[in-house]
Subunit: 159 residues, 2 copies
């Protein structure tokens, strides 16, 4: 079903590429991020890690995420007033829609917008190193808030 090299091997490679030691905590977190279909925050990852492993501190969650982020394996997002949320880096680059009623995150991707961003920056004498685009939305024709459930689904759209 999955034509990938092998999840465990990929995780090991990621850690080796980062030039850090392979610890159980890092493997657990890497695994959680790989299977996460949402964008959990540090506390949520801590909860899941404890369920999967039993012993892992919140401090380690933060430290590990920082390491993985530096290695380019993890991306950190700060939606509006929330605490930081994380996801495994994956191609292609994408941006996010935040459903204001449910908190659900939807990913989308638009080459057109990316191109316009670079163009505008260039006109002002800049080169885009990275960017951040978040659309805070409501469902079309929605009657209103229906009850927030922790973001669990991710839809993807390309344009």
């Amino acid at each position: 079903m999955e034509p990938q090299p092998d999840p465990k091997t990929r995780m090991l490679d990621a850690l080796r590429a980062a030039g850090v030691r392979v610890t159980n905590q890092r493997m657990v977190l890497l695994g959680l991020l790989a299977e996460a279909r949402d964008h959990p925050d540090a506390a949520e990852l801590h909860r899941r890690a404890q369920a999967a492993d039993g012993a892992i501190s919140l401090a380690t969650v933060y430290r590990t995420l920082a390491v993985l982020q530096r290695a380019g394996v993890v991306q950190r997002h700060s939606f509006d007033g929330d605490s930081a949320r994380f996801e495994q880096a994956h191609e292609p680059h994408h941006d996010h829609i935040v459903d204001l009623d449910t908190g659900r995150i939807v990913e989308f991707q638009s080459d057109k917008i990316e191109r316009l961003q670079r163009q505008i920056a260039a006109e002002l004498g800049f080169e885009v190193v990275h960017h951040r685009l978040e659309l805070y939305c409501r469902r079309t024709g929605a009657s209103g808030p229906t009850g927030r459930n922790p973001a669990t689904d991710v839809a993807t759209h390309s344009s």
Copy 2:
């Protein structure tokens, strides 16, 4: 030079429209925001307010900014890892470029991008309530960091 109604009157109007009392602290902050050419954070506004007035607490800075934001007079931004930064709301709507080397903020405006955002959201069944677009950039051909100075200038660009 300025065909505006009169700064003081406008500030009074803003407070009245917000349905709140006119206090010295609010007038001072409103004035600081009006003349600010940058995007100061709460601590910086506190510093400036003390220089201008002498007695105003950080708590009041935060409370006043919250009031003004609710009234639509002030906009709050959270660039990357920084603390919240504020600016007086002004038309047309604009987004920001953050110069990674100097920290300087440059505003720009692009109807094209706004339109694309709405279009993408619509295709996914959403309506954009508000959004956030930040381009973290480096000057084209820049040789590298030259020394961060507190953002003081604002350039504007329309497309």
